[in-house]
C-alpha cells in the first residue's frame, strides 16, 4: 500500500510539472516600468553590493521628477550572495513572477554568464553589466549592452600615460593569474609593442596568496620605475605593504577596480596615497552639476550609504537605459527601446561617453586617469581618454 502511494505521488508530481506553462510576464504596463538588478548583499562579496543600491538613487530621482512619460519605474534588488545558482533563481523569479523590462548592472562574471542565455531567450534587455567580459559583447548579443571599458583598453591607455606623461623608462606588470589579470597584461603588452618597448618584469599572483615577498623582490630587482598592477584589493594591499618594508617605491598604477581611494587607504593603512588608477566615473567629489545632483539625492534618500565609486557605478550603469526610455516616448516596447539603445551616440552621464550601434555593443573604451591625493582625495590627471589601439574597433 505504502509503495503504491509513493508511486502515485511521484507520477502526480510528474504530471503537474508537465502541465506548467512558462512565459515571461511583460515588463511594463501603463503605470510602471519594472527594472531589476542582482548583486551580492551578503556573503564574501557583499562590499560590491553597493552597485545595486546605487541604481536605486537614480530611479528615485527619475520617479520624483514624474517618471518617464507617465510611467514610474519600479526597481527590484535581489541578493544572490555571489553564487551563480542563486543568481539564476532570482533572475527567473523576477522575470516570470514580476515581469522585468530590463536588467541593469549585475556584479560577478559567473553570475552574468549563468543568466546571459536566459535573458536573451526571454528578450529582456540588459544594460551595463558591472564587469568587462569579452563574451558579453563579442559576438554581439542583441539584448546586451556593455558600458564597462574592457581591461585591455584600460591597460593600454594607462601604459601610454606612464610612458608619455610620466616618462617611465622601465615598466613592470604585476597581475592576478586569471582572465581579469591577463587581459590587463595583454593590453599593456600591445601598447608596449607599439612603443617599441618591453616590460622589464611580469609577475603574477594567485588570488588568495598571502605572501608576496618573492614577487616584490623580483619587481625590486627589475628596478622598475613604474609598476602597473591588475590585482584584487587584498593582493594590492599585501603588495604595497611588502614593497614598502623592502624599500621598493615605484610609481604604482592600477586598474579602475581599485579606484575606491577611501576604501583602499583604509585597508593599506594610508599607503594608497600617490597611486594612479584608471577610472570609469568622475571623481566622487567632483563638482559637475550632474554629479552634484546625484550626490545631493543620495544624501536625501540614503543618508546611511557611503558615497563611493561602487555606489556611483550603480548610477552610471543605469543612465543610458533611462536616457533610451526617455527618448522612446510614451509608446513603449522592447523593440522601440532597443532601437534607441542601438543608436545611442556619445551619451555622457557621469561615466564614459557611450556609443552603441547594431554591430557593436561594447559602449566605450574610455577611462579617466586619476590619482589618490592626501586624505583620499581624487586628483584628475587626464580626462576621458580612448584607446586608439582597441582591436575590437577595427574588427567591425
Amino acid at each position: 500500500m505504502k509503495k503504491v502511494l509513493i508511486a502515485v505521488m511521484i507520477v502526480s508530481t510528474v504530471f503537474m510539472i508537465s502541465s506548467w506553462a512558462c512565459a515571461a510576464k511583460p515588463g511594463f504596463d501603463s503605470k510602471e516600468i519594472r527594472i531589476a538588478q542582482w548583486g551580492p548583499q551578503t556573503g564574501p562579496a557583499a562590499p560590491w553590493g553597493s552597485v545595486a543600491r546605487g541604481t536605486d538613487i537614480l530611479v528615485k530621482i527619475v520617479n520624483d521628477e514624474g517618471g518617464i512619460h507617465g510611467r514610474k519605474i519600479k526597481y527590484f534588488i535581489r541578493d544572490d550572495q555571489y553564487n551563480p545558482a542563486q543568481t539564476k533563481a532570482v533572475v527567473k523569479e523576477l522575470v516570470e513572477r514580476e515581469g522585468i523590462f530590463a536588467f541593469v548592472g549585475g556584479v560577478s562574471a559567473a553570475a552574468g554568464m549563468a543568466v546571459k542565455g536566459y535573458l536573451a531567450e526571454n528578450k529582456v534587455i540588459w544594460v551595463g553589466p558591472a564587469t568587462a567580459i569579452n563574451e558579453y559583447v563579442f559576438p554581439v548579443q542583441p539584448y546586451l549592452f556593455g558600458i564597462y571599458p574592457l581591461y585591455e583598453d584600460e591597460a593600454s591607455i594607462l601604459t601610454k600615460y606612464a610612458v608619455e606623461k610620466l616618462k617611465a623608462k622601465k615598466i613592470a606588470f604585476f597581475y592576478q593569474n586569471d582572465a581579469y589579470g591577463k587581459s590587463g597584461l595583454e593590453g599593456c603588452k600591445a601598447r608596449m609593442a607599439k612603443l617599441n618597448m618591453k616590460l622589464v618584469e611580469e609577475s603574477s599572483v594567485e588570488p588568495g596568496e598571502k605572501d608576496l615577498s618573492s614577487q616584490m623582490l623580483r619587481l625590486k630587482k627589475s628596478e622598475a620605475d613604474v609598476v602597473i598592477m591588475w590585482v584584487n584589493p587584498t593582493s594590492a594591499t599585501i603588495a604595497l605593504k611588502t614593497a614598502s618594508t623592502i624599500g621598493f617605491k615605484p610609481q604604482w598604477i592600477s586598474s579602475n577596480t581599485l579606484s575606491d581611494y577611501v576604501l583602499m587607504n583604509k585597508i593599506t593603512g594610508g599607503l594608497w596615497e600617490g597611486v594612479i588608477t584608471g577610472a570609469f566615473a568622475l571623481p566622487p567629489d567632483s563638482d559637475t552639476p550632474l554629479l552634484k545632483k546625484y550626490r545631493e539625492a543620495a544624501k536625501k534618500y540614503a543618508p546611511e550609504e557611503r558615497w563611493g565609486t561602487f555606489y556611483m557605478a550603480g548610477i552610471l550603469f543605469a543612465e543610458p537605459l533611462i536616457e533610451a526610455l526617455k527618448k522612446t516616448g510614451p509608446k513603449l516596447s522592447t523593440e522601440a527601446v532597443l532601437k534607441q539603445l542601438n543608436s545611442m551616440k556619445k551619451f555622457q552621464g557621469i561615466g564614459p561617453p557611450v556609443t552603441w550601434t547594431p554591430a557593436v555593443h561594447q559602449g566605450s573604451d574610455a577611462v579617466m586617469i586619476q590619482k589618490c591625493g592626501p586624505n583620499s582625495t581624487y586628483i584628475t590627471l587626464q580626462d576621458w581618454t580612448t584607446n586608439e589601439l582597441a582591436t575590437w574597433k577595427k574588427k567591425k
Binding site: 551578503t42 543600491r53 542563486q86 539564476k88 533563481a89 562574471a109 586569471d178 546611511e304
Partner: protein, 320 residues
C-alpha cells in the same frame, strides 16, 4: 506556475542526492566531512569536461566523474582511519579548499572564469544517436529519475550487511572491530559511497545552472550541505531528504522573499533597517537560517525526522 519553480525543484533534487549521500557518511557511519563541495565540484567539472573533450554521452560521463569523486573519497577515507572528530573535519576541509584552488589555477578546467556546461546529450554527441535534453522541464525528468534511483539505492544499502557495518562503526568502532567489521574497508567505503553521490549531484548541478566557476564550490557550500543533514535528522534517509528540501527552499525562496510576507514582512524590514545594516533585509536570511539550525539542534536533536516520527505516532493513536 513557472520555470522558476522547476528550476528550484531541480536544485532541491540535486541537494537531495547530495544530502542522502552525505548522510551515509555523517549519519550512518559517524564520520564528518567539511569537504563535500570538493566532491560536488569534481562531479560538475568532471562530467562537463569529459563530455566536452572526450565527447562521451552524458550517462557515461557522469558515472566516470562520480567514480573519480568516489576514488578521491576513498583517498580521503584513509586518513579518516586515524583521525576523528575535529581533526577529520580539518582534513576534509583542506581537501575541499584544495580542489577549489586547483580547479581555479588550471586553465584546462576553465580557470577562475569558470565554464559553460555543454549540451546535455544522452546519446553520442554529433552523431545520429545524439539525443539532446534541453530546458528546465526535461532536465527535471532526468534528475527526478536519478534522485529516485539513488534514494532507493541508499535505503537498500542501509539494510544490507554493509549498512549495518557502517552503523556499528558509528556506534562504537572498537566494538565493531572486535565483532569482525573491517574498519579499513568500511570507513573508506563509506567515504567513497558518499563522494559518489556528491559526484552525481555535482554532475547534474552543472547542467541545472549551466555555468559554474570554482568559487561556486566554496567552504560555505560544504557547511550548508552539513546543515541539511543535521537539520533533517542524522541517520535517516527521509531526514536527509527533508533537510535538503527545507534548507534549499529557505535559501533560494522563502528567505529571499520575506518582505512579501503579510504583516511580518514590513515589520522585519523596519527592524532590519533600524538595527542591522544599510542593505535592509538581506542579512535576515543568514540570521534566520542560523536560528532555525540552533532551534532544531536544541529542541529536536533528531532533526525534522524526529518531528516526523512524533507526528506519525500522534496520528497512529488518534483520536485517543
Amino acid at each position: 506556475m513557472d520555470h522558476r519553480l522547476i528550476y528550484l525543484v531541480n536544485i532541491i533534487l540535486v541537494n537531495v542526492i547530495l544530502a542522502v549521500g552525505l548522510n551515509v557518511l555523517v549519519g550512518y557511519t559517524g564520520q564528518i566531512s567539511l569537504g563535500h563541495a570538493g566532491f560536488f565540484a569534481v562531479g560538475a567539472y568532471g562530467t562537463s569536461l569529459i563530455m566536452m573533450h572526450l565527447h562521451f554521452p552524458f550517462p557515461a560521463a557522469i558515472i566516470i566523474a562520480a567514480l573519480i569523486a568516489a576514488f578521491l573519497g576513498f583517498i580521503i577515507g584513509l586518513p579518516a582511519l586515524r583521525l576523528e572528530g575535529p581533526y577529520l573535519a580539518i582534513a576534509t576541509l583542506g581537501f575541499g579548499l584544495t580542489i577549489m584552488h586547483i580547479i581555479g589555477r588550471w586553465e584546462i578546467f576553465g580557470g577562475r572564469m569558470g565554464i559553460t556546461a555543454p549540451p546535455l546529450d544522452l546519446g553520442i554527441p554529433n552523431s545520429s544517436l545524439s539525443f539532446v535534453i534541453k530546458g528546465d522541464v526535461q532536465i527535471y525528468y532526468l534528475i527526478l529519475i536519478m534522485t529516485v534511483l539513488l534514494v532507493i539505492g541508499a535505503r537498500n544499502l542501509m539494510k544490507t550487511r554493509v549498512g549495518r557495518a557502517f552503523m556499528s562503526i558509528r556506534d562504537d568502532d572498537i566494538a565493531a572491530e572486535v565483532m569482525g567489521v573491517n574498519l579499513t574497508i568500511f570507513k573508506t567505503m563509506s567515504f567513497a559511497v558518499s563522494a559518489f553521490y556528491a559526484g552525481i549531484a555535482g554532475g547534474l548541478y552543472g547542467f541545472v545552472v549551466s555555468f559554474f566557476d570554482p568559487f561556486s564550490f566554496n567552504l560555505i557550500l560544504s557547511i550548508i550541505f552539513l546543515v541539511m543533514v543535521v537539520v533533517g535528522g542524522l541517520g535517516s534517509v527521509l531526514g536527509a531528504i527533508m533537510g535538503a528540501v527545507l534548507i534549499t527552499y529557505l535559501q533560494y525562496d522563502l528567505l529571499k522573499n520575506v518582505e512579501n510576507l503579510p504583516y511580518l514582512g514590513g515589520l522585519l524590514v523596519a527592524i532590519s533597517k533600524q538595527w542591522f545594516t544599510v542593505i535592509g533585509l538581506a542579512n535576515f536570511g543568514g540570521i534566520a537560517l542560523g536560528l532555525i539550525m540552533i532551534a532544531i539542534v536544541i529542541f529536536e536533536p533528531l532533526g525534522m525526522f524526529g518531528i516526523w516520527i512524533r507526528i506519525k505516532k500522534y496520528w497512529k493513536s488518534w483520536p485517543f
